[in-house]
Point group: C2
Chain length 235, copies 2
């Protein structure tokens, strides 16, 4: 996609991908590279990556299948772009966490906070990443990068436990699984509220719980539950 879509150049962002209008739409579909990727990821998340066809993607975008194939080799390329976006954001967040220095428990707390923030900021991309199962080369490459991130998080837990700054009575690898499992589970229910442009979140319409939970409240709750749960035990 990177070689044929011109929207990385300044000034042409809004005319990157156009098509003749589909019956009933009234005007040509236009996408930035980012806009098209967001749409595709939405289809993958709704129907499942395996089940979504290039035809589904073309239909959802209002582009013809041949326009689509002119720009991307297939849905695997789109999957790669999407999951690498999530992985890049998570890696960068962990780099920043390590740069901060300080006590091990403080580094772990920053990692929990930043990871949750990235998950909420890049919600559809992280959601897709977490569903990847390793059936293709692109998926296996994503799993390898994801395992490296999980290993960095587990190492932070282990270092904080070894320093006596968090409880050490539970296997640090199990702690890491459960903590970041809690963080990742947010993708199952959190829905950004479009009315407030990403500042607030709502759950699925049919669900009565948690309407308009602000994003920051969610981050603070995760950090607070996790860090209190990890507090060293008093003997």
């Amino acid at each position: 996609m990177s070689t044929v879509v011109p929207d990385d150049r300044p000034g042409v962002d809004d005319a990157a991908l156009t098509s003749t209008a589909r019956a009933g739409r009234g005007r040509p579909a236009r996408y930035t590279r980012e806009g098209l990727l967001e749409l595709v990821v939405g289809v993958f998340n709704d129907r499942g990556y395996e089940a979504a066809s290039m035809e589904d993607l073309a239909k959802a975008s209002g582009l013809t299948k041949s326009t689509f194939y002119h720009h991307v080799s297939g849905k695997e390329e789109l999957l790669g772009m999407a999951v690498n976006r999530a992985l890049d954001a998570l890696s960068t967040a962990l780099d920043e966490t390590a740069d901060g220095g300080g006590r091990k428990a403080a580094q772990l707390e920053r990692a929990i906070r930043r990871t949750t923030e990235v998950l909420l900021a890049e919600l559809p991309y992280v959601t897709l990443l977490l569903r990847v199962r390793g059936n293709t080369d692109v998926e296996r490459a994503a799993l390898t990068r994801r395992r490296a991130i999980d290993a960095r998080l587990a190492a932070l837990v282990e270092a904080a436990a070894a320093a006596g700054e968090i409880r050490a009575d539970i296997d640090p690898r199990l702690v890491s699984r459960l903590l970041f499992g809690m963080v990742n589970s947010i993708t199952e229910w959190y829905r950004p509220d479009r009315r407030t442009a990403g500042r607030e979140g709502t759950v699925l319409p049919k669900d009565t719980a948690l309407q308009n939970t602000p994003r920051q409240d969610t981050v603070d709750a995760v950090v607070s539950l996790a860090m209190q749960g990890l507090h060293p035990l008093r003997q």
Copy 2:
């Protein structure tokens, strides 16, 4: 399936579904009702329910497609049987939790413990349930039952917070989402160790962490992290 598969009657469990041998297998495939469902759920979890076809199911079982269709109307019926097994087990666990009486926080602790135990005991069925997205009638019915269970769990958190027995500084509905998100995330990595017949657990072979974490250790870690994380704040 319940009307045509005879294996609910005593004495015929091992001959419920048989087929002529497929080339290379050497003997007819034989399944109990439960054995066949377990196999089908494994295929659903591996490939995704949407992507798995009746042909895939027949192939994995060694049964012919026509034998399969003789016993079930289609994959949606199998999905219904599988997710209702998980939902029945979770509902029963919550009924037992409520029967116990006592302080609200103790009831919540029992609910966390029993829910985690059921998840581990019925791992493939709960895994499938948690992936249901509501695309068909069977899936929507499962989501409705799942929401009712989530509401009971949220009510337990709310009651314990209202009684001052757990911290009340975080919205109880958000606490409930995060806690049971942590519990549910276990389906993402826990793999029963077949060598020890369900007593022990291992993660996926390629993962180096958490080999042979015993099931009870996982349950205890969840309960301990959750209940310490929920402890009322000292002012």
